[in-house]
Amino acid sequence: MSLAARDVTKRFGGLTALSRVSLDVMPGEVHGLIGPNGSGKTTLLNLLSGYYRPDEGAIQMAQQDLSSATVQQRANLGIARTFQKPRLLPTLSVLDNAMIGGWRDARAGFLATAFMLPRASFDERELRNRAEEFLHGVGLSHAISRRANLLEHAEQRFLEIARALTQRPQFMLLDEPAGGLTPAEIEYLGGVIRVIAESGVGVLLVEHHTDFVFRISDRVTTLDVGAVIKHGTPDQVKRDPEVVRVYLGA
């Protein structure tokens, strides 16, 4: 039932960004992915969510091969993600931004929506309720009807998580969610991520705040120059001499 990369290689022109990297995210775990800048973390995340296709190897979910599936197909199968730089729709409200995550559950087609058939109103009510619950849950109760361009940085980060949750994902890929947050906000973020995982969602956490990653992850994978150098529990990875040498420092 895991989301996995099997021996994937990705090249950009002459540059090999990833070479024969394997990683799997199990349901209900927080899987940390760390490594120096340029080690291929975001490339791997883009391969898992479908923005890139692997040159070799495969992306699988529950034994099903996804290597050539589009981003949209993977979203419909239950893979959600957030972005390093939050990508919100600035002219829409916070609630609308969260509701867009419910696209795959909106069954009413274009004409059914245009003629406001019962299915369209039903979808709308369902998605609104669901998105509102997630917004309250991640702590954006105060901003639900605000325009998204008026949000501060931390609010944007949590809104992206709420949008991803509205997709009802089985796997959630978080690209540096703690970037630019204060220590108190990182604390809240950790709580949110733990709750998401404990509800059975598999979380892949790409992050530079290594203390944070070691604290909330069940397993950690370390990349360096496009290859896995260590994989294991936070304690094992923390003590690995190679990881200390290339990334953590003495």
Binding site: R87, L89, W103, A120, R130, E152, V195
Partner: protein
């Protein structure tokens, strides 16, 4: 409360528009109002393409021309019932929208605009060249609506009714999941993909819909003109539709409606402006783009927000983990 306020406003607007022939004074103004409603039938469909999904079509005048000629040929030359001919014009233009959209909607913004421009120019050439069908440069007479819509007032009411229905349809699309998906296509394709919006299919769907409304508008426009030639469909008209939406504001419905009314009516009502038609458009466009780049619609939104009670502008994020957990479990229980 908010919803009932809105219903009252809508009812008031409909009442004002319905009674227009009685209070407007002269028949020319009724004709002008009918023309505005006709333009609006096209522009409200085009608004989903330009204002919501951000595809810069400047060639909808070509679809308007196809709709107008097909109505003139079907209802005039072949004597088809006007109601059927209007629907057929809409269907034909929806098909043209599909054929134009299939290759061109994959092009990035500027190139798509050029493709629609080329389409409009080709349509003009075809109407000139196919003399047997279109009357060439001489043009075609257009039959009127059947009674009771054959008077200026009658045709105004018919066109108003059609415009209201089209407005309602686009309003529904814009205000629901589809509208959000279109805005995502406009503002962040990456986000649209991430949540599963089929970007190309969404663009194509609204483009076909805008073809349909352009075809209907073409038929109504032909009747109002009563005689059409290729010169009726100058390229400026296509630019005019586009400018109405930009001045009105992308992602709004009320804004472009006001844009359409102002840009159509002002040059007609204020005599000195008639001579300066294009100058006036240019000036207004410049003022809007420089001062309120988000358009008239945004100005209205900001005015409305002024009258709403302001709550504290807190920015503190404080998760409620129990509620979050319940919500995720509820979501995962859905099959």
């Amino acid at each position: 409360m908010k919803v009932s306020h809105r219903s009252w406003a809508v009812a008031a607007v409909i009442a004002v528009l319905f009674t227009l022939p009685w209070w407007s004074g002269d028949l020319y103004k009724v004709h002008l109002a009918a023309l505005i409603c006709t333009y609006w039938v096209l522009i409200s469909g085009l608004n989903l393409v330009v204002g919501y999904s951000g595809q810069l079509s400047i060639g909808h005048v070509g679809l308007l021309a196809i709709g107008a000629y097909s109505f003139a040929i079907l209802a005039g030359t072949h004597g088809m019932h006007p109601a059927v001919a209007i629907a057929a014009s809409g269907a034909l233009c929806a098909l043209c929208g599909l054929l134009l959209g299939l290759p061109s909607l994959r092009l990035p913004g500027f190139y798509f605009a050029m493709a629609t421009l080329a389409f409009a120019l080709i349509v003009t050439e075809i109407t000139l060249a196919q003399g047997n069908l279109t009357g060439g440069g001489v043009g075609l007479p257009v039959p009127g609506f059947p009674p009771p819509f054959d008077t200026p007032r009658g045709s105004y009411w018919l066109i108003l009714a059609i415009a209201s229905v089209v407005t309602w349809l686009t309003w529904n699309v814009a205000r629901h999941t589809w509208g959000r998906g279109l805005v995502a296509v406009r503002d962040s394709v990456v986000t649209a993909q991430a949540v599963g919006v089929p970007v190309f299919r969404a663009k194509l769907t609204v483009f076909v819909f805008s073809g349909f409304t352009a075809g209907i508008a073409g038929a109504l426009f032909a009747v109002l003109q009563s005689y059409i030639t290729p010169d009726t469909f100058v390229f400026d008209l296509g630019l005019f539709f586009f400018v109405c939406i930009i001045i009105g504001g992308r992602g709004h419905i009320l804004g472009p409606a006001i844009g359409t009314i102002v840009l159509t009516a002002l040059p007609e009502m204020v005599a000195p402006l008639a001579k300066l038609g294009n100058f006036f458009y240019g000036l207004l466009l410049l003022v809007v783009v420089l001062l309120v780049p988000e358009g008239i619609g945004r100005v209205f939104q900001l005015l409305l927000e002024r009258f709403r009670p302001r709550r504290g502008e807190s920015h503190v994020v404080k998760p409620d983990l129990e509620r979050l957990s319940r919500a995720i479990h509820a979501g995962r229980a859905i099959k």
